[in-house]
Amino acid sequence: MGALYFIVAFGALGVGSYFIIEEFIEKGKIVADNPFQVVNGFLIYWVFADIGYRYMLQKMPVANIKPLLYLPFKKGKIVNYALGKTVVSFFNFLPAFFFIPFSVVLIAQGYSVTGVIGWHLAMLFITLAANFLNVFMNNMDKVFYPVLAVIAGLGLSQYYGLFDITAYTGPMFMFFYENAWAFIIPLLLFIVTTYYAYHYFIKQLYLDEGLKDVAKEATTEDLSFLDRFGKLSTYLKNDIKLIKRNKRAKMTFIMGFFFVLYGLFFMNDLYSSINGMKVFAGLFCTGGFLFSFGGLVPSWDSSYYKLMMSQNIPYREFLLSKWWLMVAATVVSTLLCTFYLYFGLDWWFGMLAGAVYNIGFNSSVVLWGGGAFVKTPIDLMTTKKAFGDSKAFNAKTLLLLIPKLVLPVVIYYAFALTINESAGFIAIAATGVLGLLFRNKIFDMIEDIYKNEKYDTIAAYSQKN
């Protein structure tokens, strides 16, 4: 899903950016001779962004190499295979979805064909060079983050008109267009990085060198302050460790808070005039963690679900711990959302109403949905499927969106249209409070579901093992 989104977005940019920038230039919003010049100016950021996200996300296919080691292959062949595999990575195809349509547009707009082809080849080899650079650029955080800071600083100083690096780098990229032969320079860069990647990799080709799984030293933190929650503290402590020590859970946790910014998407004139959007924004911004983490309960415990089911663990305590986590995260998100006050009081009311609805009602709904429909085991150690697991996304989870997101909007309009806007917001919050009052009743129902689904859930979770 995520990949498709990026492909469409890049493709659209490739086709459209020329014309969009052209319009900006005509309106005087950007000062430049032509769109191509603007794009060339920003390419420096593109290149660094490319290297940056590769460094963070693109990993060597190490796991696939181990079984090849003791088969009768020459080492060089294994390395070539592994390096070849990185070339067919999504990271290398994605830029093509921008550069190919963009180049076509350039030619259609009357740019020199040989120049555009030379420029395009240059971009292709820069992309590939970045790919191989990434191979031997592992564990260089000490270099990576300062460079990142410098780039961010350059971007800011350009934005505020202090210093414009693109004035220097733009002509550099333009050079590839003006001199079609110049793609040889990135080609050479590509060859050099490939050469280094090959030699770096062949040295790492031992089980105790590059192929070793790095075990992080365990750190134990004192969570005894949670003991005040009584019996619940046992599970709370575990859930906090779950989030802190597992990549997948940690990412979900952080992503959850990025939802706070989601409301900014609704700020353009198209949406901000529709009040229902404020309700939507309120639900999303305050409930990011609730939806992304809570929606996958009980799968977070899937790898040791048998243990949980054979120990003396009442479902209520197990679930209440998750519930408290969601409530706490929602409260924090709501506090972070205070900045929406800047956009107007009604935005902030939307946030508050959404928060109360999330805490009172949605927190139970996601647990209910999880118990009934979520039976996909989660591999805590990888972030692979973190963006939309196709199996966890089905018609039933879509149906659950009705109580989670559609119902509050309906409630809002039922009261906002008959009485007034504030009544709409109050009605949503009141529903949330009702949900809170009947929480124990709702939990009784949820518990029954978990009990009924116990065997199916265990069977589904153990399938992968």
Partner: protein, 205 residues
């Protein structure tokens, strides 16, 4: 079959009664039963100590009880597994097993279920484990259920041996000095005909 004992799968027919508790209808068996079946009984992102404390809290033990228990099994751990600043998921299979077995002994359970406990352990740990199981079994209050494919371990450790073949009870014998021979003869017999999968289940009280 151990999964049935822990109510992790539903019986297609019949039911299990443990200490007068019908397992598929009540959860009252949980406080007096503990088990280590496989890695899915371990929580990978905890250190062994944290895991013991977690199980301990579930079974109503405090931190001091658990510390004492870890200390009393220090020779079983043999300087490995505990106190190493490692998460369970980073331990070797054998050390994971040691942790799982000891965790199954937390809170003085009356029924202890161990699936293939000797597999993946080094010889000296196997010997220590046999001693632990025998000591437990000498307590008249405690029943230990152990499954194994290894006849030597079985006959050494068990008081009662049940031989299952394809889910059917083939033999159910009180252990005596002749048991090993009897079992061995049985398996030699079937290995000459064909090679079925047979599990030996041992029980001691």
């Amino acid at each position: 079959m151990f999964s049935l004992l822990l109510d992790l799968i539903q019986p297609s027919s019949g039911h299990i009664v443990s200490n007068d508790v019908r397992i598929d209808q009540s959860e009252d068996w949980k406080p007096f039963t503990s088990a280590f079946i496989d890695e899915s009984f371990l929580i990978g992102y905890l250190t062994p100590e944290e895991y013991f404390y977690f199980i301990g809290e579930l079974r109503g033990q405090n931190k001091a009880d658990i510390d004492a228990l870890i200390a009393s099994y220090s020779d079983f751990f043999n300087g490995e597994a505990v106190g190493q600043k490692k998460y369970l998921r980073d331990l070797s299979k054998g050390n994971q097993k040691k942790v799982g077995i000891v965790a199954a002994l937390i809170g003085k359970p009356q029924v202890v279920i161990l699936d293939e406990p000797f597999a993946n352990l080094d010889p000296s740990t196997q010997i220590r484990l046999k001693k632990i199981i025998k000591d437990l079994a000498n307590d008249p209050e405690v029943t230990v259920l152990v499954s194994s494919h290894d006849l030597i371990h079985v006959t050494e450790v068990a008081q009662r041996v049940v031989l299952l073949e394809k889910g059917k009870v083939v033999k159910d014998i009180e252990k005596s000095s002749a048991t090993f021979k009897e079992l061995e003869d049985y398996f030699i017999g079937i290995s000459e005909i064909h090679a079925p999968v047979a599990t030996v289940l041992t029980e001691e009280e």
